[in-house]
Symmetry: C2
Subunit: 383 residues, 2 copies
């Protein structure tokens, strides 16, 4: 049900001709109110795509009536013309929906450094508006796919209210955020401050801890829109937990669909002195190409885990480190532990536990193995 | 000529049976004086192999009579027993050479987390000593290979003095240092302070700027030994330049032999506000898996260069960035520049220039493309 699971929202997804292969490439999500509260988080990359610059600006009001999303082009590194194109997209959506451009966010995804075909995109906004429906969430989720093999949606239901969402993303997945566009909707009756807080709390421990390939996008956007249509104002904790659950589910779907991956790796750091230490160590392990190749080869190579930990500034003593792979403590006290032949690596899920023996803090980072398919997919992407 | 190009040195390389395939795996380099000055730099990984801990300790005296090097096992993450094994190796070498163990450095390379077969290694030290020769440099260089496809040596001759060296390394190549063992020798008549300064000045701009796969080893060691046998004391600048030239040459050889690589990429950052900024940006570009895949596919994907720059804290404005690939300025002022079809990517050498337009500082980082062969080699390494 995606972004139309919550009451007060309509959506559409169409093929506007932006993608040369004719696949769906334009989505529209509309908040029909009565409220139009919204919040957003964006890439921390300093090179930001035009739609990110635009949407950050319009979000300052805490109000959104609609979101236009396109695949088939990231509109990043496209200069003043790229920004004008984003502005024109918002203007066109505002015109056909009878709202102001300052309440329309824009998200784009695809190749960097290419101008969007505005002669296709602008008419597409009108065509999408004509197909808006309370059942359009699925089509919207499909229209934002790039190298995604599946579309991603999630729904959590509260007591009389709902949070739903859609996501795209399959590569360039790294903190700050992963390369992804996410639109979440709710019919809970909440203002933009509560949305903002819940969204930041959720993304910090979900999307920000998905690190498929260490590469940070120019276009990452996560939006949360509230219609108030349920008339219910849930307690903050209850609502925040629902938002976190939807983000967690979508984040897991991103990892499972990561480009070329054959293993999903859960890197759980325990015994850290601080949560920051745990996150730093988790990221270092998750980004170690040699380890990611070893996991691909079903080799429980704990030495590469230790060498990754050794590059961090976290509190630990080398001779107190412990590492378990799929439940077998292959490294104890910085040296050889249980027999590595006991580790069963046949399944897609791989669980690495790194125990720093320095405190009680923990964090989990999600990543993938590094495969020949990843290389192939990303060396042929723009050709 | 390797480590025996300079007068006063003998070396040997033999098959001691450490490697199961019977290839050469043990090297010995001996300084016959009259001086025995030495300096060393080591991995900045906090998880250090036993031979690194040992050699750092013995180097404090500024004196080395010999270096024992083995491939076939890194002796890293091997606990107290591993350190005892390194100590026993130095003791055995000291015994057969008639010196003290405190003047014997030890270097090991191979798989992490496995104890060395000391029943093979210790007799091997005696066997290597029996074959020490002024022409043994080549054999020593061969004996330290792991996944290297070629052995690496280099020599620079001054006015009556010489600097020569050998290196191993083909993967896990990243700053701090690359995964490599390097022994440099000279017959210049210099003390350990001058050697230390020249070595640090050289490695900072050579090995420390080789970043093949972003992975930092537990065993990196670069040693410089001076015999004084030429009787010549060169000026510091002249000597330092020779050490830098040998390090640069060996560093280039490491990059050209990097595991699975099909392209050698020179990332030159110009227009930086500071050298630190230039190095940070260069490393970020060199470590971007998506860009490395694109280069493998001969795709001049400058968008991935910009997204890598955007993750750094260097001084720059996104709309002032310029990027050239193989001489074509494909990105100007943060957007589309010259026609990317003009970029000729057919050759192994690829030259990326990133102009931050923020100052006059520069730095060059050397890296490789990311290939299916790299994945294959590193997923099958320990099996």
């Amino acid at each position: 049900m995606s972004v139309t699971a919550a009451k007060g929202f309509t959506a559409a997804g169409i093929a506007a001709g932006i993608k040369e292969n004719g696949n769906p490439d334009l989505a529209l999500v509309v908040n029909n109110g009565p409220r139009r509260a919204a919040a957003g988080v964006f890439t921390s990359n300093r090179v930001k795509a035009a739609p990110v610059l635009w949407s950050e600006q319009v979000l300052k009001s805490g109000q959104l009536s609609a979101v236009v999303l396109n695949s088939g082009g990231a509109n990043a590194c496209t200069g003043p013309k790229g920004f004008q194109d984003t502005h024109a997209t918002a203007e066109r959506a505002a015109e056909v929906l009878g709202t102001g451009a300052g309440e329309v966010a824009v998200c784009s995804t695809g190749l960097i450094g290419v101008l969007l075909p505005m002669d296709k995109l602008l008419p597409g906004v009108g065509a999408a508006a004509a197909q808006l429906s309370e059942h359009g969430g699925e089509k919207a989720a499909i229209a934002i796919k790039t190298t995604d093999t599946v579309h991603k949606t999630s729904v959590v239901t509260g007591d009389g209210w709902t949070v739903g969402g859609m996501a795209k993303g399959a590569g360039m997945l790294a903190p700050g955020l992963a390369t992804m566009l996410v639109v979440l909707t709710t019919d809970a009756d909440l203002g933009s401050d509560a949305l903002d807080r819940a969204l930041r709390d959720a993304t910090r421990v979900t999307f920000d801890r998905v690190d498929s390939d260490g590469c940070m996008s120019t276009n990452d956007t996560v939006l949360l829109l509230a219609s108030g249509a349920s008339g219910v104002t849930p307690g903050y904790e209850e609502f925040a937990e629902a938002v976190r659950a939807v983000c967690d589910d979508l984040g897991q779907q991103l990892i499972r669909d990561a480009e070329g991956a054959s293993k999903d790796i859960r890197v759980e750091v325990v015994g850290a002195a601080t949560e920051d230490d745990a996150v730093e160590v988790g990221r270092s392990i998750a980004r170690n190409n040699l380890l990611k190749c070893a996991i691909h080869g079903e080799d429980p190579n704990w030495g590469r885990v230790l060498s990754a930990i050794g590059t961090t500034s976290a509190a630990f003593e080398p001779d107190e480190l412990n590492v378990a792979i799929n439940g077998v403590w292959v490294c104890k006290n910085g040296g050889v532990g249980e027999d590595r032949d006991k580790v069963d690596m046949r399944y897609r899920e791989v669980h690495i536990v790194a125990d720093l023996a320095a405190g009680d803090a923990t964090a989990t980072i999600w990543t993938n193995d590094l495969t020949a398919d990843y290389v192939h997919e990303n060396s042929a992407y723009s050709s």
